[in-house]
Amino acid sequence: MADNSTRPGFATGGSDSAFRVTVNNTGSAVVVLPSGEIDLNASPVLRQELKRVQTARPERLIVDLSGVPYMDSSGVATLVEAMQIARKNSTRLVLCGMQDKVRSIFEIARLDTVFTIAPDSQAAMTV
């Protein structure tokens, strides 16, 4: 039950502003908490972590984006891919904690209605 790990982004580790992905397994849900900007440089790190936690086919997978000030389409594509795996696995995938800029790209991509989006990780546990 104790999967509580932080993986530094390969590209920025060492700096205190590295891209990192923290994974928290609460038992009832796996919470993935990326922190830093998710662009073409960082999205492979997120993708790898999501794939890794999804091999266990969790009941609920929460991606808490509260530490993500920026995302481009490579980040969005990563989350779309995770959603497709989640559907196959019958995992409930919930995004939460979106900052304005990140929400804006989901709106532009018209994916704001496709994903289940909760305001915060608390709400994401039950939605």
């Binding site: 590209a11 662009d39 073409l40 440089n41 481009d72 969005v76 804006s104 496709v114």
Partner: protein, 179 residues
């Protein structure tokens, strides 16, 4: 659609050198630097914070596409980002808030027909195919073309709206797409 980049006036004509020109290697490491540069310049030229963020996003997406599709992820090929303030009327130099910003992205990558650079149908939910949609949704004018000898050129124009820079519905206003 998207091909109607009008002549943006004397102070941003092809003859004038750009106010800013960034040459970067095609490495995703440098995307954040390009974004921060473009965003800070737009801010100083009077664009509202939200517009600056969107301009930076469009540049990011365009650079990603050059890196992935143009150079096939070779991280050591050159890309150029040039920036001109565009003054509607009798110029006035860069200090006066320009009516628009013109950003040109050039590469030495393989040349493709501009018509193949188009976003896919958003109805189909799958990874990929979003970059060009975002660029067209965020910028006011977008034009892809082949450069004279080698590589592609993407010209983007973003107009500045005064004060109440209310562009939250921009993604919706632009329905039509495709090269």
């Amino acid at each position: 659609m998207g091909d109607n980049v009008r002549n943006p006036g004397s102070c941003a004509s092809a003859v004038d050198p750009p106010q800013i020109r960034l040459q970067l290697m095609s490495n995703p490491l440098y995307l954040s630097g390009a974004r921060e540069l473009v965003s800070a310049v737009a801010k100083r030229l009077g664009f509202a914070d939200e517009a600056c963020g969107k301009i930076a996003l469009a540049v990011d997406e365009a650079l990603c596409n050059v890196i992935r599709h143009g150079y096939g992820r070779d991280p050591n090929r050159p890309i150029w980002v040039s920036i001109w303030p565009v003054h509607e009327c009798g110029c006035g130099g860069p200090d006066v808030h320009p009516g628009a910003l013109k950003i040109v992205i050039e590469d030495e990558a393989r040349q493709v027909d501009p018509s193949v650079i188009r976003s896919r149908d958003l109805e189909e939910i799958r990874p990929g195919g979003l970059g060009v949609h975002i660029i067209r949704a965020v910028m006011d004018e977008v034009k892809y073309e082949k450069r004279d000898n080698v590589g592609m050129r993407l010209t983007m124009i973003k107009r500045r709206r005064e004060e109440a820079d209310n562009d939250q519905a921009e993604g919706d206003r632009k329905e039509s797409e495709g090269g």
